[in-house]
C-alpha cells in the first residue's frame, strides 16, 4: 500500500472496500434485549414509529387516538392500530488481549473483527462499548459507550491503540467489563478461549446482565493443526509453564478430540443462554469470516 493509499484509508484495520461492505451489515440478535431508550431496533408493537405493525381489540383504557376509524365504520367494532416499537441496543465488545492472542495474527484479526462489529453497531445507532483484557489484577482497557457514525473514529483509534500482552483470562475480563457496563444488548466476546478458568460463570453473568452472548473463537493454524513430532517441551507463552509431551504426533488425534470437545462445550454453553458460538482460523481472511461464515451463520444480516 502506498503512502497515498494509506492516507486515504480511514483505518488501517479495515480497507475502505471492506468498510463499505461492513457499513451495510447489521447485527442480528436472537432476542430483544434492548434498552427502553429509543433506538432503531424494532422490538415489537405498541411503539410510536410510523411503521404499522398489527391490529388488536380495543379494551377499556386504550388511547382512542389509535382506534382505526375506517375499520370501526365498516365493522362497527373498535380495533386499535399498533405501530412498531424501536429501542436502543447496547453492543459490548470484549477483546482478549492476552499474550496468547499475539501469535499467528490472532489479535490482528480480533481487532479487525471488533472494528467491523463496532461499525455495524454504530451505523445502526447502537451504543457500543469496548473492553480489552490486560494483566491480571489490572482494569481492562475500556472505550465507554458511544454511538453514532461520528464515534467510529473513536472506536478505530481505540482498537489501533490496543496491543496484546498480559495474562488476564477472558472470564476475568468479562467480569471486569460487567462491573462498569450498564445496558442490555449483545456481548461479543472475541478470544481464543484457551483459558483455564470457568467461562460458564462468565456467560451466566452476561446472560443475567441482559446481554446476548456472541462468542467468536479465533485459533491460529498451529492451534488447529499442531506441527509437532517426537518428544517436545511445550512452553506457555503467557505463564511460561512447561509441559513435556512424548511422541507428540501420536497424540494429535487426542489433541483434536480435546479441541473439538472444547468447542462443542463452548457452543453448548452459548446455546443454553440463547447465544451463538463460532470458531474460525486466524489465517482466514476478514472478508471470508464476515461475509461468508458469520453471514451464513446468521450473526449479521
Amino acid at each position: 500500500m502506498t503512502d497515498v493509499q494509506a492516507r486515504a484509508q480511514l483505518t488501517p484495520l479495515l480497507s475502505n472496500e471492506t468498510l463499505a461492505r461492513v457499513e451495510r451489515l447489521r447485527l442480528r440478535p436472537n432476542r430483544r434485549l434492548t434498552n427502553r431508550a429509543r433506538g432503531e431496533h424494532s422490538v415489537g408493537t405498541g411503539g410510536a414509529t410510523i411503521d404499522f405493525a398489527d391490529y388488536r381489540d380495543y379494551v377499556a383504557g386504550d388511547d382512542i387516538r389509535y382506534v382505526d376509524w375506517n375499520i370501526f365504520a365498516r365493522l362497527q367494532r373498535p380495533y386499535l392500530k399498533l405501530y412498531a416499537h424501536e429501542e436502543e441496543l447496547h453492543v459490548v465488545i470484549i477483546l482478549d488481549a492476552s499474550s496468547s492472542m499475539a501469535s499467528e495474527g490472532k489479535f490482528e484479526r480480533v481487532r479487525q473483527l471488533a472494528a467491523a462489529f463496532s461499525t455495524m453497531a454504530l451505523l445502526g445507532t447502537e451504543q457500543v462499548s469496548l473492553f480489552a483484557t490486560t494483566g491480571t489484577g489490572e482494569r481492562p482497557t475500556t472505550l465507554q459507550s458511544c454511538s453514532g457514525r461520528s464515534a467510529t473514529r473513536l472506536v478505530f483509534e481505540f482498537l489501533e491503540s490496543v496491543s496484546p500482552g498480559g495474562d488476564s483470562t477472558i472470564d476475568t475480563a468479562i467480569a471486569s467489563a460487567l462491573r462498569v457496563h450498564r445496558g442490555r444488548g449483545i456481548a461479543i466476546v472475541l478470544s481464543d478461549f484457551l483459558t483455564t478458568g470457568d467461562v460458564s460463570r462468565s456467560f451466566n453473568l452476561l446472560n443475567s446482565a441482559g446481554l446476548e452472548l456472541f462468542a467468536l473463537q479465533l485459533l491460529g493454524p498451529n492451534e488447529i493443526e499442531p506441527d509437532l513430532t517426537g518428544d517436545v517441551r511445550l512452553v506457555d507463552c503467557e505463564t511460561g509453564r512447561t509441559l513435556d509431551v512424548s511422541s507428540a504426533r501420536d497424540l494429535l488425534d487426542l489433541y483434536h478430540e480435546h479441541r473439538l470437545a472444547q468447542q462443542t462445550w463452548l457452543s453448548s454453553q452459548c446455546r443454553r443462554r440463547n447465544g451463538r458460538f463460532e470458531s474460525v482460523s486466524s489465517d482466514n481472511t476478514l472478508e471470508s469470516i464476515l461475509f461468508e461464515t458469520l453471514l451464513r451463520r446468521g450473526w449479521v444480516r
Binding site: 503467557e238 509431551v245 487426542l254 473439538l260
Partner: protein, 635 residues
C-alpha cells in the same frame, strides 16, 4: 523342526542393547522447546488416562517399535542366520569331484557336460558356505589332486573349481580317499562328499574312516566308443587288428581304420544298449606303421563322449620273438620250439651271445640275470635280496593259491603239482617281508611263497623258488600253458607280435638317451619337460588327454606315442549302483545335497527397508484431521 540356525549365536548378546535403548527412550533428557499460545488443550491431552498409562504410551510409540525392530534385525543379521540344508554340514568338508573321461559326456538337451553340472552344484555349496565351515576340493581322476587346502575363502575355492577340467582317463578312487584320509589328520573330517557320474570302480580297496556322501549326477546321453585296440602279428608281415566297440544305447555306425593317414578299412557296427562288438581288420606291414581308428555314428544319433571315438595304435616292425632258454632247461626249450613266432637261443652248435638283447630269458642260473631282456624267468633262483628271508627245505610242498588274474598264471591248474626241494621262509618271515623287498607273491605253497614277481625300471622278472625239474609241473598240462602265457606276456611287454593301444594316464617308458632332457608336446599343445634317467628311459610322462604326444630333444629323432581312453567303464556310461569299500558299501544319496542357506542378507535388507519405512513415517505429508476435512477454515 529346526527351521533356522545361527552361525554366530554369540552375537545375540548384542540384544542387551535393547535395554539402553528403552532406558534412553524413557529418560530422554533433552527435548526441543516449542512455545505455544496455551497449554490448556495439551494439558488435558496429557492428563488423559489413555496417555498416562505407560503401556499405552509404549504402545503408541511407533518410533520406539521401529527402532527396536531395526536393532533386532541388525543383531539377527550379525548372528548370521541360515536355513539348514538337508545334509548335515561338517566344519571341515572335503569335496571329491570326479573329472575322469566320462564326466565329459554331454547331455543331448542342455549340451552341458556332467562335470559342468557337478561344478555348478559345488559352486552352490561354496556360495552357501557357513563362516565357520571350510572346504577342501579334490579332483578325482586316474589319481587324485588336492586343489585347495581346507579354506573358507570363496575366491580361492571358486578359482580352483573353475580350473577343473575333464581328463581323458579312467576313474581311480583309492588315491582320492587316501588323500582325504591324509587331510583328515590335519582337520576333523567327519564326512566327504563325492560328486561323480557313477562310472567309477564298484570296488575300492580302502577302509573308510569317515562317512561318504555319494552324489550321483544324472545320466548323460547315449554313447558309443572304442574300448579296446590291439594287434597281433600272424605272419612275417601280417597283423590282425582288433577293436572292441561298446555302446550305452541302441546305436549304429562305422569304424574307419587309417594306416599312416590312408584309409585301409571300414566296417559297420550295430549295437544294442550295453552291448559290445569286436571288429577285426587285416593290416600288412613289415616296417613300423601307425594305425588310427575312427568311430562315427549315424547322422541323427547323438554321441555324448568324443574322447573314445578315436584310437591310435603304433605297430612295430614285424619280427620273431627272441627267447634265450638255458640249454639245460630241455622242457622249456621243447615247449618253445613248438611255439610259432619264436626265435630260440642259443642255437645248437652256435656260440652263446650274451651281449645281444633278448625279449625273454629263461634260465636257472643267477648269472643269466645279467642278460639284456624285457622279461626274465628265473627257475629255482632265489633273488639275492631275499636270500636272508628263505632257507632250503627238503619237504614236499604244493601250490595252495595263485593269482589267476596275472597274465603268467592264467588258465592254469596247479593244485596237483608236487614240489620238492623248494626254499621256505625262515621263521617269522611272511609275505609282507617279500613285498617290502619289492617283490609280489603271485603263487603261494604250503610252506610259503613259490613264485615272485618284480617289476623294475626296465624289466619284468619272475623267480620260481623251486626248480621245475624237481617238481611234477613239467609233466602237467599247466606247463605248456605256462610257457604260452610267458610268450604272450613277453609279446606284450616287448611289443613284439602283440601290441595293445596305450591308455591315458602315464605314457609307457621310452628308451632314449640317458640324462637327456626331452620336451613332450601333448595333443592340446601342453608342454612337459622330462629328464631321461640314467638307463636312458623316459618315464612318468603324464598323458591326460587322448591324442598323440610328440617327444623331441636330446639330439635324437622325434618320436611320438598315442594315448587312448580305451576304457569300458568310461565309455559305456553305466553308473555303478553302489561303491563297495573294504568294510562298508556306499550307495548314491537319495536326495540332492542342499546346504545351509544364509539369510543374513535378507534380514539386512529387511532392516534397511524398515529404516526407509521409519523415514517415510516421520516425513510423510501430514494428513488433515477428519474434523477438518469438511470445513478446513471455519472450525
Amino acid at each position: 523342526m529346526n527351521w533356522l540356525g545361527f552361525s554366530a549365536i554369540a552375537n545375540a548378546w548384542w540384544l542387551l542393547l535393547l535395554v539402553p535403548l528403552l532406558v534412553f527412550y524413557f529418560l530422554k533428557l533433552k527435548r526441543p522447546r516449542v512455545e505455544i499460545s496455551s497449554l490448556v488443550l495439551w494439558q488435558s491431552v496429557v492428563n488423559d488416562q489413555r496417555v498416562n498409562s505407560p503401556f499405552q504410551k509404549f504402545r503408541r510409540n511407533i518410533l520406539l517399535w521401529l527402532q527396536m525392530a531395526v536393532l533386532i534385525l541388525l543383531i539377527l543379521a550379525a548372528m548370521q542366520p541360515f536355513v539348514p540344508g538337508a545334509a548335515e554340514q561338517a566344519d571341515y568338508q572335503p569335496i571329491l569331484i570326479d573329472c575322469s573321461a566320462s564326466m565329459g559326456a554331454t547331455d543331448p538337451v542342455t549340451g552341458r557336460t556332467r562335470l559342468e553340472v557337478a561344478k555348478e552344484r559345488v559352486f552352490d555349496l561354496i556360495d552357501n558356505l557357513n563362516p565357520d565351515q571350510q572346504i577342501s576340493l579334490i579332483a578325482v581322476h586316474s589319481s587324485a589332486d588336492r586343489l585347495t587346502e581346507f579354506t573358507g575363502n570363496r575366491r580361492i575355492l571358486h578359482d580352483a573349481l573353475a580350473a577343473v577340467r575333464v581328463r581323458d582317463v579312467r576313474s581311480q578312487l583309492e588315491d582320492a580317499f587316501r588323500l582325504t584320509q591324509a587331510l583328515a589328520k590335519t582337520a576333523p573330517v567327519e564326512s566327504a562328499v563325492l560328486f561323480s557320474d557313477g562310472n567309477i570302480p564298484d570296488k575300492v580297496r580302502f577302509a573308510l574312516p569317515f562317512l561318504v556322501n555319494y552324489q550321483q549326477l544324472p545320466a548323460a546321453g547315449p554313447n558309443a566308443g572304442i574300448t579296446a585296440f590291439n594287434a597281433r602279428l600272424t605272419s612275417s608281415q601280417d597283423w590282425d587288428v582288433f577293436l572292441r566297440v561298446e555302446s550305452s544305447a541302441d546305436v549304429s555306425g562305422q569304424i574307419v581304420l587309417l594306416q599312416d593317414g590312408q584309409q585301409t578299412g571300414e566296417q559297420p557296427f550295430v549295437l544294442g544298449s550295453g552291448e559290445s562288438q569286436q571288429i577285426a581288420f587285416r593290416v600288412t606291414s613289415e616296417i613300423s606303421t601307425k594305425l588310427e581308428a575312427r568311430l562315427t555314428t549315424g547322422n541323427t544319433q547323438f554321441d555324448s563322449l568324443a574322447a573314445d571315438n578315436v584310437a591310435w595304435l603304433d605297430l612295430p616292425p614285424a619280427r620273431p620273438l627272441r627267447v634265450y632258454a638255458a640249454p639245460q632247461l630241455d622242457s622249456f626249450r621243447r615247449a618253445l620250439t613248438a611255439t610259432p613266432g619264436v626265435d630260440l637261443f642259443p642255437k645248437p652248435k652256435q656260440p652263446e651271445q650274451r651281449s645281444v638283447p633278448y625279449d625273454l630269458v629263461i634260465s636257472d642260473e643267477s648269472a643269466d640275470e645279467e642278460l639284456i631282456a624285457a622279461v626274465h624267468f628265473l627257475v629255482g633262483v632265489t633273488p639275492k635280496d631275499t636270500e636272508s628271508l628263505v632257507e632250503p627245505s627238503s619237504a614236499l610242498t604244493k601250490f595252495l593259491d595263485w593269482d589267476r588274474t596275472t597274465p603268467l598264471l592264467r588258465h592254469m591248474q596247479l593244485r596237483d603239482v608236487e614240489i620238492a626241494d623248494a626254499v621256505q621262509p625262515v621263521g617269522g618271515v611272511d609275505v609282507r617281508d617279500f613285498e617290502e623287498a619289492g617283490y609280489s607273491v603271485v603263487a603261494t605253497g604250503s610252506n610259503g611263497p613259490l613264485i615272485l614277481r618284480k617289476r623294475s625300471s626296465s624289466r619284468l622278472t619272475f623267480h620260481t623258488l623251486f626248480h621245475t625239474s624237481r617238481s611234477t609241473l613239467e609233466f602237467r598240462v599247466a606247463f605248456p600253458v605256462l610257457v604260452a602265457n610267458l610268450v604272450q606276456l613277453v609279446r606284450q611287454e616287448a611289443a613284439v607280435g602283440d601290441v595293445a593301444g596305450v591308455q591315458t594316464g602315464v605314457l609307457p617308458a621310452v628308451d632314449l638317451n640317458a640324462g637327456a632332457t626331452y620336451e613332450i608336446t601333448g595333443p592340446d599343445d601342453t608342454l612337459q619337460t622330462v629328464l631321461a634317467d640314467e638307463t636312458g628311459q623316459l618315464r612318468g610322462v603324464t598323458a591326460n588327454q587322448v591324442g598323440r604326444y610328440r617327444i623331441s630333444g636330446g639330439d635324437s629323432e622325434q618320436r611320438s606315442i598315442a594315448a587312448n581312453l580305451l576304457s569300458s567303464a568310461e565309455s559305456t556310461l553305466t553308473p555303478v549302483s553302489s561303491i563297495e569299500f573294504d568294510e562298508q558299501t556306499v550307495a548314491p544319496a537319495d536326495e540332492f545335497l542342499t546346504t545351509n542357506r544364509p539369510v543374513w542378507s535378507i534380514v539386512t535388507f529387511l532392516a534397511f527397508g524398515l529404516l526407509l519405512v521409519e523415514w517415510w513415517f516421520f516425513q510423510r505429508p501430514r494428513t488433515r484431521h477428519p474434523s477438518q476435512a469438511s470445513a478446513p477454515k471455519s472450525v
